[in-house]
Symmetry: D2
Subunit: 264 residues, 4 copies
């Protein structure tokens, strides 16, 4: 068809490869070196970053995945359940539907926090307290001037602080993984206030975003990490939906509660 020229850039991958006798993942022998040796969360870390996590990194990365897996009957879980109602024979479609709601509103905070921190570019080696103070003041001032909220601060339900945040920070401290992005995020939190002057707690999205930056997860993939976590929660909901369905009740509820007002 020749719409494109003949010379194509080379394609290379470092992820997976198999021969008749062996399967390799990021250079590790899957059956011998990973299965039974490395937990799923750490294998996910390997797939994304190209290296196995240390013991502390594995514990923290797993804790982030656990923290984001479920939030009850969220729009995400409801969309998955309603999709399963119509297509129970294709559960992959219901998982996909659940995952597709993990967009700017729900994961915007998460990714947004990462973007703000990465843009400030704190240096792992050289970030003195003074330097981080300066960067934090810049971030707060910049958002104040533009009248925009700093992603990762405040929470609609957990007014006294998100219980996951304290736990994540404690784990990071325990394993000496409180890196420059999280240290910067904490300084931003300490400086920032709501328009009415109240302190804003660091929410789990902000904490996870900062910690994943410190763990070396690329900004483009931050949302992808949360999506895998959320997929696990969605499959939990679908397992329950298969046993004790609520999809049809939700449908009836919507039909009952909504009024029809044609515009014609």
């Amino acid at each position: 068809m020749a719409r494109f020229e003949a010379d194509l850039p080379p394609m290379t991958t470092s992820i997976g490869h198999s021969t008749a006798d062996d399967i390799w993942v990021q250079g590790y022998n899957l059956a011998d070196e990973l299965m039974g040796e490395v937990d799923f969360g750490s294998t996910f870390f390997l797939l994304v970053t190209g290296r196995l996590p240390t013991r502390g990194e594995a514990r923290l990365f797993n804790a982030v995945l656990v923290a984001l897996a479920d939030h009850g009957l969220t729009p995400t879980a409801l969309a998955a359940r309603l999709t399963y109602t119509g297509a129970p024979d294709a559960i992959q479609g219901a998982v996909a539907a659940g995952v597709l709601g993990a967009g700017s509103v729900f994961l915007g905070v998460f990714e947004g926090a990462g973007r703000v921190l990465r843009a400030a570019a704190p240096d792992a080696e050289a970030s003195s307290d003074e330097e981080l103070d300066r960067l934090a003041a810049g971030i707060v001032e910049d958002h104040r001037r533009r009248g925009s909220r700093i992603p990762g601060l405040g929470h609609p339900f957990h007014k006294n602080g998100d219980p996951r945040t304290a736990r994540l920070l404690a784990l990071a401290r325990e394993h000496d993984l409180l890196g420059p992005h999280t240290r910067l995020m904490l300084r931003v939190q300490a400086l920032a206030t709501s328009p009415s002057g109240k302190a804003l707690p660091l929410n789990a999205g902000g904490a996870c975003g900062a910690l994943l930056c410190d763990l070396g997860i690329e900004t483009e993939v931050l949302r992808g990490v949360a999506v895998v976590s959320r997929a696990a929660g969605v499959v939990g909901h679908l397992a329950e939906e298969a046993r004790a369905p609520m999809g049809t009740t939700l449908w009836r509820l919507a039909e009952r509660e909504a009024s029809y007002e044609p515009r014609r």
Copy 2:
């Protein structure tokens, strides 16, 4: 709108719930009892089954998730990468696209093995060797008569046996988790042959399906477990695609290799 009657069946969920101060997952306090205490794979097990796995179950379930996470540049991974090419701003869509190819062809074996075994309904308590032999002979005979392949046996590449199968069985034996479904599957494998009379190895899909049945995963959700595993592999591919894209090259390759033959 009142198309449905007024009385609706009650909706209940056991998965997630939150108050101002706490978040609960299957009755566990998320921040205190799960994060940092339980790995992500085990939390996924909890979400799906409603209980935490034992140490051995956790190791085996994690190994299953690790085994299925990636298979290199499969149609699944390619679909995700090509979707990312068009919509890099919505990585959740690329993950969804990758997950949607996890259907009857790729995961049919997996789910199919589970269905065959569950239909035979081996009893965990009372399944004597003789009983399992009898059930296995029935399954093999039934498929022979209908001329259909037994799901979980044979592999297009790993002719000498799928390296993941041996590892999974060893792990199950080590933790005394070789339950009646897997014992039945092994008997089926020992009896079955290809149409040309050759022995057929137990592939990873068949082994995973049988082991997950023994772990108590419902048949309807088997494919969902594989989908979460595969989502992790897909995000690995997307992380690589963001760094070293091959989507446009695949596009050009297809345009170059395909010929246009209008039917008009």
Copy 3:
């Protein structure tokens, strides 16, 4: 990577092709022969079948697409709206979520009717009334013996007959497009009764399935035709959701109505 042998089967496509000056679709010049000349429904027919419909076929095919486009606040529409709530920046994801619920439960009837009719293989040229009577009796008897419902008959709401069915049949008759599949379906309907002995009306899914078979749509693609139709309805719902959102209300409704009963 060389996991596969070197010789690959050729790839050919008849659908689309473009040069610097022209774009071709199924051998037609897109700008000169299709845009402004052929409506979207007919272009869809061309894309799927490789030929343009006659005037009558175009009217009937468009009527089928119109018939299936919307059914109010169905699980499909709700899943799309809830996905939009979380990811308004990626409307393609919300459309995809809406489409993913178009599975076995909602479109099973549609595709199932087509499969039953295609399996009976009525011959367009030679199907005498006697031959069709014989095939219809066989279908009804076969389902009675297996205790299974005949797809396309009966409707939960439209007890007196689906209003779309009469309209579709009238259009088909008007254009002399009541082919052997639909004639067979009508005979099946006349013979079949519910378990309690009542007559069962031909529903819109059954009528559309039969008529699309007569129009030459392949069985594998029947569901795909309905999916495009439903996508239009879903975008209608999303346009409304953007103006007058109900996603958050649905979420609150679910949280309010559901009770939390941990299994622990």
Copy 4:
């Protein structure tokens, strides 16, 4: 569960509603007033805008849908085909995968053009030529200063002008539908040049975006219109894939052409 307060905002819809005897869409009786009377493209217009198009609007809107339906073996079509390879039993998933690649890269131009034009807010009634000249100069100057490309201008293949653009503009003129957004877009095109000083043709995305704005499609839904159009093209590709598959060849091609370079 009571996480939210009890009082919920009301939910209303104007789209679809059904009673035992009738089905209504935007206040029209589906069977009597739409099926057989109104083509699918016009019904889609009704679903999105709440009103039926005039004869000229229907022709133009259909032409836009036809223009965007297919572009050959694009990443979008390839992703759908590869998904079908793995899950042929759930064609809705393959359509969804095809639709999910309709994101910022491929439809960014389309939506971006609409956003730029809507932000300039030309007034349908009062937009004099002078006023539009002033707005166009502002848009060009603004993009030049920020060093960003104006969405809708230039095309990688159709260097001499996109053949669809001329056709769309001719249709709009014929029906007196060249409204203020399109007139503004044309002025922007006349003023803008590439960084090297060359004129940039108005591409089909830019023309469609402007014309849909003039037709009253909301900015948030522009991409959704293109997604339905593309879904039709995707189903065309899947119909071909079911007859003459290329998915496995694409897989083999990728495996053959890509080199494996583990990072370990």
